[in-house]
Assembly symmetry: C2
Homo-oligomer: 222 residues x 2
């Protein structure tokens, strides 16, 4: 008699992938550009979202899903600037999954949204395995984390569409070799876009906003 | 008929805890002080270890277990300064567990070690759930990550013995409110020791080394 082996991880990931496809179809129906933002804790996910809202919310209708292990600190900040936001607390879970996002979508006015940011849980490992239904996978690397992060967390860098290299205002005080960072990232992911920015000083924000405008137009013309 | 429910997570954690107790007994037999170091990616785990080696390795016999998703970047640095080191690559796994550490212990000269650092995978969530057999749980919070991290990753801050607040050399260039950081950490964990340091400038290193000397003496007198 043969024994059927079910690998729990694969089963979970398969179910997640199906749900992510459903989410994607639902978001596509409304023409919403959806960006899954991943990074280490404190790399600047919320800062990037708040800065983008500041520059774009007059002409682009933005909504946000905030994923956190605990607290609603980030959702409160987004809510304070008048943007529709849903907080997902994972109660210890180290990543968002497509089922959580499906629930969150139920609470958003999708017919009034052009751009949806999904801020994942701060973690450079697990979120990478769970598609959510996004168009774009974006990761933020924070300069103070050091230039060796792509060597140490290669999967996240390999699978992303865009790397925001944040906190470049601190570069004068760090031993960060941007050339070697770029070399490893491009080695892992030849098609990636790397955008150095500082959410604090505003450096590089124009490049990011231009990139985002292009992605929005591409989505709307589909 | 009653149905027996086995929660996979609990079963795994239970087996891990048993193995951690075994590791602890084994390390205790040799009188080795064992410290499990946890943090976000790039907060300074390896820098703290290398700095401590620099100051203490003449009188204290140190060994290191390096945990990483991929690469041996950190183990190579430790090896270069002549300290026994074992690299564990988790191949995508987001934390070390007690079984991995048990294997690593087999490769270390335990009868010639006083102090063992276990550098966990860079992650502020999952490593917290897996005891390894350590005496001391140490976490590093990096100042550029922001003062709100204890609110957002409370479990890690609640369960640690000591918080190293690293990269204080960057404080002049950051909006980091140390008072509010300390207030939340102590609220979660009233008995915690908080030690601000800069592995780069050396600020605060004496306090850390003194704290460590005291812990070593306590272990050796047991």
């Amino acid at each position: 008699m043969s024994v059927k082996v079910i690998t729990v991880g694969e089963k979970i990931l398969g179910a997640n992938e199906d749900k992510a496809k459903e989410n994607k179809k639902r978001l596509d129906r409304y023409g919403i550009l959806t960006i899954n933002i991943m990074s280490s804790p404190g790399a600047g996910k919320t800062s990037l979202i708040l800065n983008t809202i500041k520059h774009m919310s007059k002409k682009t209708r933005i909504a946000v899903i905030e994923g956190d292990v605990a607290s609603s600190v980030d959702a409160d900040k987004v809510n304070a600037v008048g943007i529709p936001v849903v907080q997902i607390n994972t109660a210890g879970g180290c990543h968002l999954d497509a089922f959580m996002v499906a629930d969150a979508l139920d609470s958003l006015p999708l017919d009034k949204v052009d751009l949806l940011f999904i801020e994942n849980v701060g973690n450079l490992i697990c979120p990478n395995n769970y598609l959510l239904g996004e168009d774009i996978r974006l990761m933020i690397a924070s300069m103070p984390e050091g230039d060796d992060k792509p060597l140490k967390y290669p999967a996240m860098f390999a699978d992303t569409d865009v790397v925001i290299l944040n906190k470049v205002d601190l570069q004068p005080y760090l031993d960060f070799n941007e050339k070697s960072f770029r070399k490893v990232v491009v080695g892992l992911n030849p098609d990636v876009t790397i955008l150095p920015v500082s959410c604090k000083s505003g450096a590089g924000m124009k490049d990011w906003l231009d990139w985002l405008e292009t992605a929005l137009k591409k989505k709307q013309n589909k």
